[in-house]
C-alpha cells in the first residue's frame, strides 16, 4: 500500500498514526514536495487484517516481542499462561519506574497479554530516556507504536 501525489509524481511519506480505540485506524501521509496531506482511514475489518499480518503501517521502532501477535490477539487465553524468564525480567526492571496511575492502568490489561504490554512500555521508555511511565507516556507510546487495546 503506497500513496502517490499525482500532481507532483512523488510518493507520499508516512507522517502519523492514530488509534481512536474503536478498532479503526487513521494514518496520515504527506507529499514531500508540495506538502499536501491525505489520511488513510481503515474500518475495523481492514485494521484487523493488517494487524493479522503482524505488520504496522508506518513501521515499527521496537523489535517484536516473542509471540507478539498471539499474545496481542488471542481473546481466550489463560491469564497465567506466560511467565517472565528471570534473566529477561531483571534487565527490564532497571531504570524505569511506574507511576501509581500507570500501575493501575496496567492492572486492567488482561493477564494473558499484560506481561508483554509491560515489556513494550518499559522498552519504549528506556529507549527514549523516560524515567517514569505514566498514563500520558502510555498513551503516546500506544499511538506511536500502534498498540490497539493496550
Amino acid at each position: 500500500m503506497k500513496f502517490l501525489c499525482v500532481e507532483c509524481d512523488r510518493q507520499m511519506q508516512f507522517e502519523e498514526r492514530q488509534l481512536p480505540g474503536d478498532g479503526t485506524l487513521a494514518a496520515a501521509f504527506r507529499c514531500p514536495r508540495c506538502g499536501r496531506a491525505v489520511a488513510l482511514l481503515t474500518n475495523p475489518m481492514e485494521t484487523q487484517l493488517v494487524a493479522s499480518l503482524g505488520v504496522k503501517i508506518g513501521g515499527t521502532t521496537l523489535p517484536p516481542q516473542p509471540l507478539e501477535t498471539v499474545r496481542g490477539m488471542v481473546a481466550t487465553g489463560k491469564p497465567d499462561a506466560f511467565e517472565d524468564d528471570p534473566g529477561a525480567g531483571a534487565a527490564r526492571a532497571t531504570g524505569v519506574t511506574w507511576s501509581l496511575a500507570a500501575q493501575e492502568r496496567l492492572a486492567r490489561v488482561p493477564g494473558f497479554v499484560r506481561g508483554m504490554v509491560k515489556r513494550i512500555y518499559a522498552d519504549y521508555a528506556r529507549d527514549r530516556g523516560i524515567g517514569e511511565i505514566t498514563p500520558v507516556v502510555m498513551d503516546t507510546a500506544r499511538s506511536e507504536l500502534g498498540l490497539e487495546e493496550m
Partner: protein, 260 residues
C-alpha cells in the same frame, strides 16, 4: 484525459512503513530460528481423526528415548492435543528476551501447543470485529504458525515435528514459511475413505516440493478394514513405515523411530 500515474512497482522512494520489508524480516526470523533444527517433519493427513497427534507423540517420545533431540510444534490451534499426550498441558510458557522457551514433555520432548495458552475448555478466540471474521481469521492462524516457528527457542533439534490439523491449508502455510519444503510423514487409517482423502494431501505435498518419508497406518487390527497404507505406498513409491495397532507398546514406536 487519463492521469499519468506511476504504478506500485514503479515507485522507488524509501517508504517508512516498508511493509514488504517487515514481511521479509518475519521470514528471516523463521529461517534463523530453524537454523539449529536439522529436519522439519510435517505430520499430515487429509483426514481428521486418524491419530496424527497420537502418532506424533508416540514417535517423538521414542526418538527422544533414543537420544535424538526432538520437538513437537502443535499446529492444530483449534483442536490442540499434543500437550496432553506429552503431559505438558500445565506448563507455563517462559518468556525470554527474544523468544519463548518450549515446555519439556514426557521423555524430554520439547513442545509448544496452543493448549498451554488457552483457558480450559475455551475455543481459540481472537480479538477483532465479529462481522466477516473469515476475512482475517485464517491470516491470524497463519501468523500464529509463523510465531510458533520463529519465536520459540527450539535450540538444536534432530527433528521438529509439526503436528498439523486435518486438511491441507496449514501445510501450505508451513511450506511458505519454512526455508525448505518440510519432509512429510503421512498418517492414515486402513479404510478406503481415509486412503482417498490422504491421497489428495500427499499429492498436494508433492506439488509443494515436499519429500514424502512414508506412510503410517494407525488403528490396525480392529474394526477398520482396508489397505490404505499399501495402496498409498504403491502409488507414491514410499514405504509403509509402521502399522500401529489399537494399543501399541513401546516396541512399536521404537520400530517406527528406527525407520525414520
Amino acid at each position: 484525459m487519463p492521469l499519468n500515474i506511476r504504478t506500485y512497482r514503479q515507485l522507488t522512494e524509501p517508504d517508512r512503513s516498508a511493509l514488504p520489508e517487515q514481511i521479509g524480516a518475519q521470514r528471516r526470523r523463521v529461517a534463523e530460528r530453524l537454523a539449529t533444527v536439522r529436519r522439519v517433519v510435517a505430520v499430515m493427513s487429509g483426514k481428521g481423526g486418524v491419530g496424527k497427534s497420537f502418532v506424533t507423540a508416540g514417535l517423538a517420545r521414542a526418538l527422544a528415548r533414543q537420544g535424538r533431540a526432538t520437538g513437537v510444534l502443535d499446529a492444530d490451534f483449534n483442536g490442540p492435543t499434543a500437550a496432553r499426550l506429552l503431559e505438558a498441558r500445565e506448563a507455563r510458557v517462559r518468556v525470554g528476551e527474544d523468544a519463548v522457551f518450549p515446555a519439556v514433555g514426557t521423555d524430554g520432548v520439547k513442545l509448544l501447543s496452543m493448549d498451554q495458552l488457552l483457558e480450559d475448555g475455551q475455543p481459540l478466540g481472537f480479538r477483532g470485529p465479529e462481522a466477516e471474521s473469515f476475512v482475517w481469521r485464517g491470516t491470524l492462524e497463519a501468523a500464529t504458525l509463523r510465531e510458533f516457528l520463529a519465536d520459540v527457542a527450539w535450540g538444536a533439534l534432530d527433528q521438529l515435528f509439526v503436528d498439523l490439523p486435518p486438511g491441507m491449508q496449514r501445510f501450505a502455510e508451513l511450506t511458505e514459511l519454512v526455508p525448505h519444503a518440510p519432509a512429510v510423514l503421512t498418517v492414515t487409517i486402513p479404510t478406503v475413505e481415509s486412503r482417498d482423502a490422504v491421497r489428495r494431501a500427499m499429492r498436494h505435498a508433492v506439488a509443494c516440493g515436499a519429500t514424502l518419508l512414508g506412510v503410517v497406518e494407525n488403528m490396525v487390527g480392529g474394526p477398520l478394514t482396508g489397505s490404505a497404507a499399501a495402496d498409498l505406498s504403491a502409488e507414491f513409491a514410499v514405504p509403509v513405515l509402521a502399522r500401529i495397532p489399537w494399543h501399541p507398546g513401546a516396541e512399536v514406536w521404537d520400530l517406527l523411530a528406527g525407520r525414520l
